[in-house]
Symmetry: C2
Subunit: 140 residues, 2 copies
């Protein structure tokens, strides 16, 4: 019988991160936690994303501690990769690092900044969802 | 020409929340921000989820401030609903509120706690993704 959960290797996590392009960024904004979808790309085991000035940028400039998640799921299986790390606004002379990556903003905007997430922890799990919970009721 | 982003009404946000069952919870754990996928259900404009003892439960007991996100996307469009709120571990005599909801844990576990998220802010956006970014390069 299959295990309901298996840990992914670091290599599997990075392969999955490279396959995807949308994830969710959790960040501090003063003493609150916020979450937002972002389009990202992997650049040498760091993540890059673009952002216009706003609360996301303000939050990470005030506190570099961030968490990031991507996932994929079907009726019976789910894969989720989580990373924690430090976000850093790239200087003008580094921002070109995003030029050749498959990055597109969710909204058209001419002004943007490039942010790098330097991971301190990366983990991934495959979940087996096909054992219904004992008390589960039929779908409504 | 279609706007690249439109705000969803509160009603549309709740309809979307009721249609989905997987989301991502961002929470504080001491001075860090963490993110994790969860299976949830809507119960009267609150969210409920089950969790075994662990860092997620510890985090929200230490700090009730949480953020939650669900989304859905295709090559050309994305929908994302975000809520911020307060998480609260339900008392034993309230935990039955989860009994008739379409909730299944991502991992089999007999011991669980029921957590309620009481939203303080709910917002949703539809994004139009079909305008490629000006500098976009062909997919690799």
């Amino acid at each position: 019988m299959e295990e309901p959960m298996t840990e992914m290797t670091p290599q599997e996590c990075w392969d999955f991160l490279r396959e995807q392009e949308f994830g969710r960024l959790a960040f501090h904004l003063a003493d609150e936690v916020h979450i937002t979808p972002i389009n990202y790309a992997v650049d040498h085991e760091t993540l890059l994303f673009r952002t216009a000035p706003g609360s996301k940028l303000l939050g990470i400039v005030m506190n570099e501690d961030v968490a990031f998640e991507i996932d994929q799921y079907t009726e019976t299986h789910a894969t989720s990769v989580i990373l924690r790390g430090r976000a850093r606004l790239l200087e003008e002379d580094e921002a070109h690092r995003s030029d050749n990556l498959r990055l597109r903003p969710w909204v058209d905007t001419e002004k943007y900044n490039v942010v790098e997430i330097l991971p301190t922890q990366v983990s991934g799990r495959n979940f087996d969802l096909d054992r219904p919970w004992l008390h589960m009721v039929p779908r409504r």
